[in-house]
């Protein structure tokens, strides 16, 4: 790694790890379904940042750009489906609290 690369590498990794920690913390502490969704969204952002960093480190930015754009599209699809599920939960329960979702046990 050249000195120039090292200068970029560590801040990027630190930011990605920070996003992972934030996302995990957020998913674990919240009782709100939408917030849980935002938490996992932050997690995916961390992964996206890591892929961009991988492209920068290997100098293969063309490949990783393609990967990241595909990833963003897939992520949007998942979030829309999850949003739809949350909407239906709200219509059923009149609440989006995780604690209401405890009917399945065993």
């Amino acid at each position: 790694m050249s000195p120039d690369l090292t200068q970029v590498f560590w801040p990027f990794s630190a930011a990605a790890i920070l996003l992972f920690v934030m996302g995990t913390y957020y998913v674990l502490v919240t009782f709100n379904l939408i917030r849980a969704l935002i938490g996992v969204e932050i997690l995916i952002k961390g992964a996206t940042l890591l892929i961009i960093l991988a492209g920068y480190v290997t100098g293969n930015t063309g490949l990783t750009q393609a990967l990241v754009i595909t990833l963003i599209v897939i992520e949007v699809v998942i979030m829309v489906v999850a949003g739809g599920v949350i909407l239906c939960v709200y219509r059923n329960n009149k609440s989006i609290d995780v604690r209401e979702l405890r009917s399945l046990k065993g």
Binding site: F20, G23, V27, L33, A36, V40, L43, I44, G46, A47, T48, L50, I51, L53, A54, G55, V57, T58, N60, L63, T64, L67, T70, L71, I74, V77, I78, V81, A82, G84, V85, I86, C88, V89, N92, N93, L101, R102, S103, L104, G106
Partner: protein, 476 residues
């Protein structure tokens, strides 16, 4: 030729959605049922080598390479069988033409995604198609919009996204090490730096993601909820093939072809496999919900596959893949039986039923076939795959795991016999005197699967020779 396995379902999907709905709603079932049947015919009766020789004009449009080896063939065959059965069950259990039409469309999406997953040769494309399958299954689970279904779907979405994040981080690290995402490049990079911390972290992250997808024990929380809350036809699809393809197949593919057995944590694989076998079986004993019990049984059976994979010898791998195939057959059969029971009684609570065999003889009889096969009673198909796994474990000196695998079979028999006695045998529950056998559309898939299970068991030398043993060749 190979891209056709993806392009034909895609084309059919467009065909179903462009014309006015009124015209296509009725023929949708025939289209969706015909495609997997054609696939079963192609994979069962035509050798793989023929397909690669046929020149395909689509190669210039696809930048990812598709290829089929013995492992993919087994999976393509199972996908064909299970999707066909799920289409049949869906036709006869879902109410309302619109809901059925939606189901068939999503079934096609899942079919396409699974076909692509077993053929791609690139880790990122693999991720994309796992996700295509997963999104289809999220919507399928939540389709009826009742409270348990939404809860099951949401749990599945969250855990699936976590699995995705683990896989994506691993892909990022792999790109850092290999500079490319194709299987060949990744495989050579990982073999070149076996001691690198980056590679070790990447391999373990990917495996963790796949453990979630496959529902292996420490990560199995979503699986019973999703299976039991989904509509019965969706449970058939999920339990029969979706988790097998997006979890177990990918695990086998990554460990064997991409990472290489030596670079993978074999001890961890065997440990979680054995843990799944025992914990799944113990949890299944305590269930009173029919579908939930089958879900825990699924966890337990997947444990056998992972145990065989962790052992790593060619024989163990063949046994694992054979068990994967068998499990797709008999677990689908059991879920079809659950669908028939749910259809007639409107409940899957095992305390509210007994003696159903008197009124539903076919369902009761096919269920016996499936449970004996799952528990590994000769000469049914499940016996041979478990025997191969146990033999391979013993040969490689894993005596403790062999004993666990064999003894857990007794546990399997215990919970299934208890289920059979509570649901199908004994005295008929009061108030069920007017019960009749489920309709032909639900009996037919059960009979087909029971015949195939018995047939595979009896003709196992042929099946083993033609279908399963070639799998050993992927272990280079």
């Amino acid at each position: 030729m190979l891209p056709l396995f993806i392009l034909v379902p895609l084309f059919c999907l467009i065909l179903l959605n462009v014309p006015p709905k009124a015209i296509v709603k009725r023929p949708a079932f025939w289209l969706v049922a015909a495609l997997p049947l054609v696939q079963v015919f192609l994979t069962a009766f035509h050798p793989v080598a023929v397909w690669d020789e046929i020149r395909n004009p689509f190669n210039s449009y696809f930048i990812f390479n598709l290829s089929v080896d013995a492992l993919s063939t087994v999976l393509l065959l199972s996908i064909g069988i299970v999707v066909f059965i799920a289409a049949l069950v869906g036709r006869y259990t879902l109410s309302g033409e619109t809901q059925r039409f939606n189901f068939f469309n999503l079934l096609l999406v899942a079919f396409l995604g699974m076909n692509a997953t077993v053929m791609v040769q690139d880790i990122f494309a693999l991720y994309v198609f796992i996700e295509v399958t997963a999104v289809a299954s999220f919507i399928l689970i939540a389709m009826q919009k009742d409270k348990p279904a939404l809860e099951g779907a949401f749990k599945y979405i969250i855990l699936s996204v976590v699995a995705t994040v683990l896989m994506l981080s691993s892909i990022a690290l792999i790109v850092m090490a290999a500079g490319d995402t194709s299987f060949a490049a990744v495989s050579s990079a990982i073999r070149a730096y076996p001691a690198s911390v980056l590679v070790k972290v990447a391999v373990n992250l990917f495996l963790c993601g796949l453990f979630i997808k496959a529902g292996i024990v420490p990560f199995h929380g979503w699986l019973p909820d999703a299976y039991s809350a989904a509509p019965s036809s969706v449970s058939v699809l999920l339990a029969g093939i979706i988790t097998k393809v997006s979890g177990v197949y990918v695990l086998i593919r990554m460990v064997v072809t991409v990472f290489g057995i030596e670079q993978s944590p074999q001890a961890v694989l065997m440990f979680v496999g054995a843990l799944s076998i025992v914990a799944g079986a113990l949890a299944a004993i305590g269930q009173s919900d029919f579908k939930r019990m089958l879900a825990y049984s699924s966890v337990s059976q997947v444990g056998y596959i992972i145990l065989g994979l962790g052992c790593g010898t060619p024989l163990a791998l063949a046994g694992a893949v054979f068990h994967l195939f068998n499990h797709a057959l008999f677990k689908t059969l059991l879920f079809v039986n659950a669908a028939a029971v749910q259809e007639k009684l409107g409940t899957v609570d095992m305390n509210k039923m007994s003696g159903l065999s008197v009124k539903m003889p076919v369902t009761g009889a096919t269920s016996v076939v499936a449970l004996l096969s799952t528990a590994g009673i000769p000469p049914l198909s499940g016996f041979w795959s478990k025997l191969i796994i146990a033999m391979a474990l013993w040969q490689s000196g894993q005596y403790a795991y062999t004993i666990i695998a064999v003894l857990a079979s007794v546990l399997t028999l215990a919970y299934f016999l208890s289920m059979q006695r509570r649901v199908f045998f004994g005295k008929l529950q009061e108030g069920l005197e007017n019960l009749t056998e489920a309709r032909l559309g639900l009996i037919l898939p059960a009979i087909i699967l029971a015949v195939v299970t018995v047939g595979v068991g009896l003709a196992f030398p042929i099946v083993l020779d033609k279908l399963i043993l070639p799998v050993q060749n992927i272990l280079k």
